[in-house]
Symmetry: C2
Subunit: 191 residues, 2 copies
Amino acid sequence: MNQKSETRKEEIITTAAKLFKEKGYSAVTMRDLATAMGIKAASLYNHINSKQDILNTIIISIAEAFTAGMETIIQSEDSSIEKLKQIVALHVKITSNNTNGMASLNNDWMHLEEQLDYYLQLRNDYEDNFQVIIQQGIVANELKPNNPEIIMFSMLSTLRSLYLWLPKKEDFNPADLAMNLSEILIDGINT
Amino acid sequence: MNQKSETRKEEIITTAAKLFKEKGYSAVTMRDLATAMGIKAASLYNHINSKQDILNTIIISIAEAFTAGMETIIQSEDSSIEKLKQIVALHVKITSNNTNGMASLNNDWMHLEEQLDYYLQLRNDYEDNFQVIIQQGIVANELKPNNPEIIMFSMLSTLRSLYLWLPKKEDFNPADLAMNLSEILIDGINT
DNA sequence: GTCTATAACACGATAGAC
DNA sequence: GTCTATCGTGTTATAGAC
């Protein structure tokens, strides 16, 4: 595959991610995607193998980026609170790099076929690592002895919803947002 | 329509909501729904008008419950923090009453047709009221002067994800969970 | 109230011309 | 690399028997 073909393939995947965000994987047809690309549906198949392959590419690449980021964080010697701040920054970074793809990761993962089990494994490992960090924070008396599951659920819900919210803030600074968000999630909102 | 027919209709809607949660509105076919009900697809149309009508019924009834709950909260004389706690309790209550329907409200609202504008109006009004409560809390010095939008985004993300999390906690007490969640969202998690 | 049969159309994907 | 034409199947929904 030459470079021009690779570029066209990436263009298709980017366009697909945008459409998947708007209507979801199942509601987007290959004809929709072709129209958005300015070509006919049959022409898409010169660049991609199937609709399912597009979804695979979008979701797995992001899931692996999260896995790699988490690996770095757990291997550091920082405090638990510092690690939680790094997780917040990781979500802000990955989401701002691929807002549309994050929508597929969050909402269309169940439509994966061959790669479904692999995705679920990555997600479970990620959540396990997240919870270990919280538990270590409680043991070290950095965090209140709240239910670790509820803490992770609350943080992860906010971080996973970033894809809905970032596009509305066109002129945001990732570092500032990550700091602001960490403050709210960790220190709370009351005076 | 007699009572038996009404009951059957409700049964179809309940079953549909469960399937919509698993695969999304677009990926669930009338044949899937019929199979889950133990009948043939054509028989569904003796009880409901269309697939779209099922989605309308699921989403709009929940959206109106949120609107009614918010009306009560904003009319009270309580402090802003007390109002925020009431919002948390409202989400826990509605979500625990209809976990599957909440999935459609969150993920399939864009597939509404005639009622899309009405839904968006209810959602915008809800978010406006939510933000006013936060702003009043900042003015009254009950809340830190953080960005009200980020505060609402963070709280609402967690509350809107409850439908994913509640079913895993089979033996939960709504009042306890609401209190626990309010604590984390309002007071933060650090010592 | 459920069935069989089917209308009318949309879907993902392929074949082969240019 | 894109096109036209088309295959085989799946889709929502209706008609009419029982």
